[in-house]
Subunit: 234 residues, 2 copies
């Protein structure tokens, strides 16, 4: 009998924000796999490190970032084969996913290669979206709000159009797109209704107003939240 | 010294989808508070029931649903005073929130009344959005996708306009708006790229294609997910 492929949401960074369900699967799986940069440590592994039993086989999915943040498809082809070998031998493989597996994560590339041929189970996790809102004490959406999740690399005009036409928004992966996003927020007079959060729930987290943010340098793991009724809450 | 107000994300329904952090606070808080309908049991309390130490004071926030799902503001005024009394006496109060506290939850009404005057901490949870995607094996958003979260009661024309203009969408609280939503999905030729989920991660969960869904009756806790590139994954 083949093993099961788990997409394991491990939460946004605080090791205590893993669910009981993910923790049980994490500690029981024969093999764990996790993404890591070309060189250096895996953030996903560091999040769960204190929970690991220490006797598991580990697959480090080294994913070099190529131009434009495009994932290297041949890398996923290669690792899918490694994971598949374990599944074929009847070993369960838990792929660690920062945040939630199906919310802007790289697990999807493994999932689309293997899930139609093996038993798979997705364990949802606390996403960066919820983590940032909690970290900033920023109620995100309620009642009949329309919430739009926008990727930072979006063109300036489109970003403006979509921010103008929503009740609440989260702009993900701010990084080098910070200046553009701040310009759009100013143009739409939304700077007072937005908040910036980086590394939510991690020890190095930072929350800033848009005014405080100018001239700052945003890391990749940063987000700007907008809530047009925000002034009532903060 | 005053107590702390916790907004405690307890996850979407499976008791094991609570985080370690929320569990610790849940079991340590002197007082817990949770929403319940006018008559009948609290879903939030039932989710955490197996985790409760059994020696806590419990505040049942009875919230009658009035016309148009408007929350009864005087109800929240009243319960805020009850919670405030505990905080004033130095007792921590954990308000249980299904899913995540700041993602379409009623905790916001307590938060806006008390958070500016007492220490408060929000513990993010696994939201219904992530739970539905996981339950349905439905990758929701990746890379540069724009994801739009739409409330079911939205007017038909606006629903159509917004669904036409996004990469992925989640339509929340489908309930009695099912027929309208299905009409719009058909008009936009999106029925094959959408999935229906009710009671995600609970024992009575159900996942249906839009074709299977016709003539079904959707409960309040149901969602339709749309991913325009969906056919590549399912």
């Amino acid at each position: 009998m083949s093993g099961t492929l788990f997409g394991l949401g491990i939460g946004p960074g605080d090791p205590d924000l893993i669910t009981l369900k993910a923790l049980k699967i994490l500690q029981k799986a024969t093999v764990i796999a996790y993404p890591a940069p070309d060189k250096g440590d895996s953030l996903a592994r560091s999040i769960v490190e204190s929970h690991l039993p220490g006797n598991q086989e580990e697959i480090i999915i080294r994913t070099p970032m190529v131009a434009g943040n495009t994932p290297a498809h041949d890398v996923y082809d290669e690792y899918a084969v490694v994971i598949e070998d374990h599944l074929e031998e009847g070993r369960d493989v838990a792929v660690l996913c920062e945040g939630d597996p199906f919310f802007y994560g790289s697990f999807m590339y493994i999932f689309e290669r293997l899930a139609h041929r093996y038993d798979s189970e997705i364990i949802p996790g606390v996403s960066s979206l919820m983590a940032c809102a909690a970290q900033a004490n920023f109620p995100l959406a309620s009642r009949k709000d329309i919430l739009t999740v926008l990727p930072g690399p979006l063109g300036e005009d489109e970003l403006e159009r979509r921010l103008a036409d929503t009740d609440a928004a989260a702009i993900m992966k701010v990084g080098r797109h910070l200046d553009k996003i701040v310009r759009v927020l100013k143009k739409l007079d939304l700077t007072e209704k937005a908040i910036y959060v980086e590394h939510a729930t991690m020890t190095n987290t930072k929350t800033l107003t848009i005014a405080e943010l100018e001239k700052a340098k945003a890391p990749y793991f940063s987000m700007i939240l907008v809530q047009k009724r925000g002034e009532a809450w903060v």
